[in-house]
Subunit: 355 residues, 2 copies
Amino acid sequence: MTFRRPAAGRATSRDVARAADVSQALVSRAFSGNGRIAPETRERILKVAAEIGWRPNALAASMVTGDAPLVSVITTRLSFEWRAQVLSHLLKAFEDWNLQPLLFYADSDREVDRLLAETISWRTRGVVVTAGSVSRERADAILSRGQFLAALNRPGNHPDAFSIATDNPAGGAAAAELLLAEGRRRFLVLAGPTDSWASTERTRGFAARLAQAGLVATVWHNTSMTAGAGKDCAARCLKELSGSLPDGVFSTNDAMGLGFIDGLRSSGLSIPEDLSIVGFDNLPASDWTPYQLTTFEQPLDVMVGGVLGHIQAHQSDEAGEPTACSSQGRVGGDGVIYCAPLLVRRATTRRTNNE
Amino acid sequence: MTFRRPAAGRATSRDVARAADVSQALVSRAFSGNGRIAPETRERILKVAAEIGWRPNALAASMVTGDAPLVSVITTRLSFEWRAQVLSHLLKAFEDWNLQPLLFYADSDREVDRLLAETISWRTRGVVVTAGSVSRERADAILSRGQFLAALNRPGNHPDAFSIATDNPAGGAAAAELLLAEGRRRFLVLAGPTDSWASTERTRGFAARLAQAGLVATVWHNTSMTAGAGKDCAARCLKELSGSLPDGVFSTNDAMGLGFIDGLRSSGLSIPEDLSIVGFDNLPASDWTPYQLTTFEQPLDVMVGGVLGHIQAHQSDEAGEPTACSSQGRVGGDGVIYCAPLLVRRATTRRTNNE
DNA sequence: CTGAAAGCGCTTACAG
DNA sequence: CTGAAAGCGCTTACAG
């Protein structure tokens, strides 16, 4: 039997069928495992296909079945530790489930809405959002198609969306609690830009707890939440607040906190004798010898687990009972499941009496 | 005119056509911009489609045109700084070019070959590999389909593949050069696992340069290239080599180098008086006050630029002149474009005379 | 400028 | 166990 082998890039199931001397339908069955096929026939087809270098065209298959094994993921700068970590976990799970992630990269949060709209073109099973925010209309558009919508560390803004986030206000409050228990009274918050949801919520929780004690904190906003910004804050602190230095510092992320510590090194101030510092994120560096920063760790595993659970529930049950069970944390009035961050005590705070 | 609006998830161009009272073909033209269509008609169709929440099904469109605007990206743990950074750049460029990245996550390097095979199912324009290695056969299979194959920081193993990498041996040699110029004579290399291409190449370049001076280095391999591993090496160093401590340490990545510095803090040894340390990667932390690590920075922008250039060339010219121009670096015998890393001098090495 | 029709590469009832 | 045929939702010549 002779035949012109087509260029691999153009080969179709029909070419494989011809080469294996079977019908095109059998080729499909050989690969999908659906429908009856004699074991020998299957073997032969698989062998021929391998020679030609052919695999079923997933695009075409998805069209027929009306269901592509794709999931949209909206993300942005991966240099933010938590996002890279979260994404690694998500991607690994998708790989295990034979779901192919289609990435949508938002250069700025403003682009997220447009990307959310673009996801629709690909008829994916749903979308995981790890950047920007989701409008009610957009959420509606996605959910009404039967897709899932999972928002990580941000509100889903829709009763049927799944949304899970670090309980930032609780973390902020716990930071305040800790510093108050140490007897601290002059507070400084190293915050991020005012449009950073996480930083704002952490600051809010911190301030609220202080307010209960009739105290207030100075809040410094930084454009970027980097170590450099934290270091600059330390310099500013020594200059502007030299009359009454803060004795309790809450940095809404670790990077700024680490920089702040560095900025204080030549000042003669000692930590935690003169002042305590609490961060947020538990970066690897926070555990390094020169820092030993007390901080809060985001329960990323719990959050990723929640998202994966929701996706799984969506897959197995399109009818879709409301999946937002509160087992992972408290459910806020906004429908977000809030997971408590974990306090990691190190050397930038004192041990208090009741421990 | 009345009609049952279909569930959004199931709406097709036909439904939009019906609602706008035009043929289905016109709906396609309204969105694609191909073919003639009256501006008013187009407006109307767009409006109706927006109401229904319909967008062309990219899967179906790709089938017809035989060309999906997709590109496969093979990656792995994003916590490795360089990969997250590189991926951010790549994804942003794809977004700008209206290419949709399909991610393939390799939990271990051994899975990469399987993932490479899986990319074929999606008929993407090509594949970018940032993990594991590419076999000659697999490269052949991909390239013969007319797809591009771009390997980042690893060999492409095929004359038609594009491959660009940090010149690790040159970096290792430069590290040796630096330490030799300082008059160092007893060398220790903090290396990674033996199957880490980058670490091995860096070590090789380092050793080769030393050999020229008739010197050798002790090489310690670590399972994971973390700060913790580096710290352990310092302890081991103080214990096992106390008789003749190394005076020149080359850490094949910064993380281990930083940990090594931490491990030495209580030893009384001072850097760079007693010993010099050179790292690789230029992590943000390497510039922090307690470290100030001299290191080499990978030319990631150049490398990403090279990959993007190759993809662009592939898009505009399927005929495919060999794109591997050496403007970005030296071309190795393996066809890899090697880009020199950038030395960043800080305080863990001495200033030498000839500067 | 618009529409009817063919066809992209598959999967899946339906016959045999 | 196997094959012929319909059809997934589009795009694109081809007529009109």
